[in-house]
């Protein structure tokens, strides 16, 4: 095949698309675009769910590196020394301790059992985006005592009756209201609600936060121990680098990167998602192949007489085959382009309207590589699906074609 033959084949393809059946061409482009969207939607949604859960766990639970007690120990001890050591390491943005205590919250006639998390608010700001999630009131200050921030689901909604609530709440606490908290050790006191937050992550949204100073009053002693420490890496430093540094510098507790933690907790879920993605991709590819094969087969069958005539006047069968091949290439390029646009629009829509469950919220997670890979796969599939019937019909003898 020379340049001349390819040019002729391209002209035949282009004119067939320009002046042939518009509805057929538009339908084919739409089918390819839908196949593309179908190929990318479910895997992106599952990736989005995985990414969302991962991000929320990192943001509100473990940060980049988690330091927690070794087996057999209840707490990370010698807290101030440990924090000073970690905060002094290069690559560490900030390390901050966490201490939780079970408590009963009381507001008017409502009683709710939950976990109170003690944090150092200023340090926490450098590690977790919790302070950006305030929906009412304000975030905690380091020296706040007798003040608390509540998750929106914990605060509740005064317009919803208790029996109609999806999950128990305090029935509509507002900023400035006073609630009573009775801790597991019997310590009881009133707190002023300083702020209400909502993160979208179920564990954070089932809790309430007080300051470290406040929890020391609850415990009745200086809190030189913590349930765990979360460590934020500086930009440009990997969690693995920070973990290795911590171990090298002699941090005696268990040190794990967020990936280590997630692999344990999320590994099986993410593997299941990967299987679903593969099945979805395979089904989409089969559907695309079959649809395009049928479309091009119908197109070639309808053109058998014309193909016979073209061969009769000296047009080589390879030119005819490539004429249909080019049509498929042009149709699939247009279909893929439309598919990319639809997918990106869907992505924007899902950003504003994410899939929300009680435990997490997620939107699509689409990377440029996803778009490129799916485009290449769909393009390759289109070529095969288009060329097979074109090859078959181009080999038909002239007499059969002209008599069709």
């Amino acid at each position: 095949m020379g340049k001349r033959e390819l040019k002729t084949a391209f002209l035949l393809a282009l004119r067939s698309l320009q002046r042939g059946s518009r509805s057929s061409a538009i339908l084919t482009v739409l089918i390819i675009a839908m196949c593309f969207t179908n190929m990318i939607f479910l895997p992106s949604l599952l990736n989005g769910i995985g990414q969302s859960i991962t991000k929320q766990i990192v943001d509100y639970e473990v940060s980049d590196v988690l330091v927690d007690p070794k087996t057999g120990n209840q707490y990370v001890g010698d807290l101030d020394t440990t924090l000073d050591l970690i905060n002094g390491m290069p690559g560490v943005e900030r390390a901050t301790p966490h201490f939780s205590k079970g408590a009963t919250l009381m507001y008017h006639k409502r009683v709710l059992g939950t976990t109170i998390r003690a944090i150092k608010p200023n340090d926490e700001k450098l590690v977790s985006p919790l302070y950006t999630k305030m929906t009412a009131g304000s975030y905690l200050g380091n020296d706040d005592v007798g003040e608390i921030i509540l998750a929106k689901p914990v605060a509740g909604d005064a317009t919803i009756k208790e029996e109609d609530e999806f999950q128990p709440s305090l029935g509509g606490v507002r900023v400035g209201d006073s609630i009573t908290i009775e801790y597991g050790n019997g310590y009881t006191r009133d707190y002023r609600v300083k702020g209400i937050y909502y993160t979208g992550w179920w564990e954070a949204d089932a809790a309430a936060y007080v300051t470290w100073t406040d929890m020391e009053k609850v415990e009745g002693k200086t809190l030189d121990y913590a349930d765990f420490i979360t460590v934020k890496a500086k930009p440009g430093y990997s969690p693995k680098f920070v973990k290795n540094e911590l171990l090298q510098y002699g941090v005696a507790d268990r040190v794990q990167t967020s990936t280590d933690v997630l692999d344990k907790n999320m590994g099986k879920i993410l593997k299941s998602y990967a299987i679903l993605n593969m099945v979805s991709l395979f089904v989409s590819i089969v559907i695309t192949t079959v649809v395009l094969f049928i479309v091009i087969t119908i197109k070639t069958i309808n053109s058998r007489k014309q193909i016979g005539v073209l061969k009769a006047i000296g047009v080589d069968r390879e030119v005819i085959m490539h004429a249909y091949g080019f049509q498929v290439i042009l149709l699939s390029l247009m279909g893929i382009a439309l598919g990319v646009i639809l997918t990106l629009l869907l992505n924007v829509y899902m950003e504003y309207n994410p899939v929300v469950t009680v435990d997490w919220s997620a939107s699509l997670y689409i990377t440029t590589m996803d778009l490129v890979m799916n485009s290449v796969i769909l393009f390759a599939v289109s070529i095969v699906a288009g060329y097979v019937p074109a090859y078959q019909v181009s080999r038909e003898d002239i007499q059969s074609g002209m008599r069709a």
Binding site: G2, G314, V315
Partner: protein, 218 residues
Amino acid sequence: MGDVEVKALDGVTIDIIKGEFLGIMGASGSGKTTLLHLLGLLDDPTTGRIVIEGTDLCNLTDYEKTMFRLYKFGYVFQDYALVPDLTVMENVSLPAMLRKDRDDQKILDDSHDILKKIGLFDRRDHLPRELSGGQQQRVSIARAMVNKPDILFADEPCANLDSENSRMVLDLFREINEEMKQTIVMVSHEPWHQEYFHRIVKLGDGKVISDEINGHGK
């Protein structure tokens, strides 16, 4: 019931002389279209030979036959057989585009020349469906002539035309034959067409009934 073998042509031998306007005539089923298709390499004979300027065409590969049709032959079919999605100009220049000895300017010039000759230069940007049957057949003739073939084959080119358009097409064939010394082999069953032919081969039941110089050929 098994397949019944039918001999469409039986013992036919004819010579085509360069520059002549040869008419192949006969009743329906006499084998005239089959003969034209064999001569034009559109079909393969079960036995026999087709020799043009010393080359036995039956020994050519499929690709060689395609190239032979492209470089040596032109075809006009009874249903015009134009590509519906191409304009008149594109239809006419299509066979020339595939020839390695034609550059873009030559293709353009030859296509314009032949369109002017058939009187449809002004309609060159129209699609076939925008033309009358007679005009479409003239475009088909232009497409067949653009490569200046050695032989122009025409298979009942007036079958779908009224008598006025038929005469216009036949006049065009005669003009091409006389002015360009174009060899034309045309199949027809219309008795009045024979006035245009130099020579008439009549077929019946797949055999040559007569092969005569037409004294009335204009």
